[in-house]
């Protein structure tokens, strides 16, 4: 395929915006997942991060570690207001199966998921 480096057409922008708000197959939207995972992460893991940086957060689900969030520029100051923290956290490409695991885990009060964090490899 020939690489094109011409200006991004308006249609491409419209398409990406549409995709950003399209419901996930299980009915969750990206921002639903983002808000839920940000909140859960903050309540369980806030304070574990050393300082600002890029981190990979993983959710432990029945012994299986799943990449969940790529956290940019996370620090305690930003983390305090949950809404601001939500802006600082972003979901990785989640399959519908992963989204379902997170949704189930976060909504099950008796079996909260365990979060683990590690710096992204390129930041080591």
């Amino acid at each position: 395929m020939v690489t094109q480096t011409r200006a991004i057409p308006e249609e491409a922008v419209d398409k990406r915006l549409s995709q950003s708000v399209m419901p996930r197959p299980n009915g969750m939207r990206n921002h639903d997942i983002l808000a839920m995972t940000a909140l859960a992460f903050l309540t369980q893991s806030c304070g574990e991060l050393a300082s600002a940086g890029e981190f990979l957060a993983q959710v432990q689900d029945e012994g299986i570690s799943r990449p969940m969030l790529d956290i940019q520029e996370f620090d305690a100051m930003i983390a305090r207001p949950v809404t601001r923290a939500g802006l600082s956290l972003m979901p990785m490409e989640l399959s519908s199966a992963d989204a379902h695991v997170i949704e189930t885990a976060l909504s099950n009060k008796s079996a909260k998921p365990t979060f683990a964090t590690s710096r992204l490899p390129e930041m080591k």
Partner: protein
């Protein structure tokens, strides 16, 4: 014959950008944009990031990053080199594929129609294609490409209209493309820096070519 620039930008194509990275916070913290320079109209989603500032507009979708400088012409090259350069240095593991520079010029005929101008520049009466197409309400343009500055220049010329039924100008759409070799040792970053330095030369070259239409001296 008036000529005006109606668009210019630099585009970086990668196997995958992550638009979510390009938050206002990230851009401010890394000195890519001054906090006071941010303008309204910014959009941040996981599929698209659009940032408006006093010095440039930035648009990122997964396959492409695009920066439009909005500073006076004499400052454009610095903004392009420092802002795009800073971004690629901050994201060294992004698999960059190519860099492009786009310049869009419009040439307005002093008199006569845009078809008269296009015919004077491109029409070949003896061409079998011309004969086959015919001339009933004809529109006419051209495509050129050539190697230059270590990359490839592509030029599309087409009649354009803006709020008019009939085209009243010729638009020259230039694309200077520099393909990057896959390299895990930082060579791509250095190549991007090298090619970004071609901004002023590429713009001047595009103007020189567009001006050739102005200076044909053809009586219309």
């Amino acid at each position: 014959m008036p000529i005006k620039l109606v668009g210019c930008n630099v585009a970086i194509v990668a196997a995958q950008f992550n638009p979510s990275i390009f938050s206002q916070l990230w851009l401010v913290r890394h000195g890519i944009v001054d906090e006071d320079d941010l303008l309204e109209g910014c959009i941040h989603t996981d599929q698209l990031a659009r940032v408006s500032s006093k010095k440039f507009h930035l648009l990122v979708i997964p396959p492409q990053l695009q920066l439009v400088p909005t500073v006076p012409e004499e400052d454009e090259a610095v903004v392009v080199a420092t802002k795009v350069g800073a971004i690629v240095h901050l994201l060294p593991h992004t698999p960059y594929v190519a860099i492009g520079m786009n310049f869009n010029w419009q040439v307005f005929p002093d008199s006569g129609t845009v078809l008269d101008l296009a015919k004077s520049l491109f029409y070949v009466p003896t061409s079998p294609v011309s004969a086959a197409v015919g001339d009933d309400n004809l529109g006419l343009g051209a495509y050129y490409s050539r190697d230059i500055f270590g990359g490839r220049m592509r030029l599309d010329i087409k009649p354009r209209s803006e709020g008019h039924v009939h085209a009243d100008r010729l638009q020259f759409d230039f694309n200077f493309q520099f393909d990057l070799n896959q390299d895990n040792t930082g060579g791509n970053i250095r190549s991007i820096d090298h090619h970004l330095a071609n901004w002023s030369k590429a713009k001047q070259e595009s103007l020189r070519i567009a001006q050739a239409a102005v200076s044909t001296g053809v009586s219309i």
